[in-house]
Subunit: 172 residues, 2 copies
Amino acid sequence: MECCLASLLRAPSLSIVLPGKSSRRSSSLHLRQLVGFHPSRCQKMFVPGFGEASPEAKAAANLHHFFTFVAIKIVLSQLQSYNREAYEELMEFVSRNSLNDGDQFCRRLMRESPRHKGTISWKISTIQVRSAYSKRDFEWDNLQMLAHKMVDESNTRLMRDYVKETSHIEDN
Amino acid sequence: MECCLASLLRAPSLSIVLPGKSSRRSSSLHLRQLVGFHPSRCQKMFVPGFGEASPEAKAAANLHHFFTFVAIKIVLSQLQSYNREAYEELMEFVSRNSLNDGDQFCRRLMRESPRHKGTISWKISTIQVRSAYSKRDFEWDNLQMLAHKMVDESNTRLMRDYVKETSHIEDN
């Protein structure tokens, strides 16, 4: 991943023209000024507000919850074909418990009727499917490509709409 | 990314023992049976419920909103040092508008007082920072590594707790 100072200096000039109190004092803030110093790697934009964690850790935690959601979808789909009783049990459990926090959901799922050993196997498999899906099936390269595409398309749309709207105001 | 049939066959056996109506009819569902056919790539686990989209597209959309959140953090941090007036204006805007939907937030931000051309430049820079951050600074490899680590640690913890709890019940 290219993130060195050399690449920053080659980056297109993204300027923020900051309005001062008078128009004469307006200052221009370039992308180079938006970077903060990251001693172990290279110069990067400083992202405040993540404490001791990082944006990557925050995003990974969200993906972790998402993988639990996907694992439940996979297991439900299979149980629906193979075991209606277990399918209905899991559906009923999902209706009572939020999937927003994947770990909390799994913890509750594992604790639900722990004496019934016959039904614990598909609960254990849910967390195994979560691991297998995230490591083998999930397309990480595709995720990156789609995210870049979304940012590009969204930014183009926003700029086009902005130009349209301001042109309309000027015409009036 | 390894995801071929050969790797599936080498995968450790993740079995779901499904309880039938009688204990004699209990069936065993292995990971190989959890895979669905994906014509263009290889055999993968079938994930229902995403319509025409994919889990990767859903995850990319969430990351897209997250990048807007990060871009706002970066711009706010810089404005706080360079331009208090613009910083307070953006803080006030953030307090009135949710960042859950990054595109909607940016659309509203761009439309806010479009006649004041002096202040639009840092609004445009917000979407440019979003693009620059996601393409250059965000550590995609680190995201993948952290997500795998989270799944492993969480699964180990869940299994350990389950074994502890069930052992306790048996002791009683």
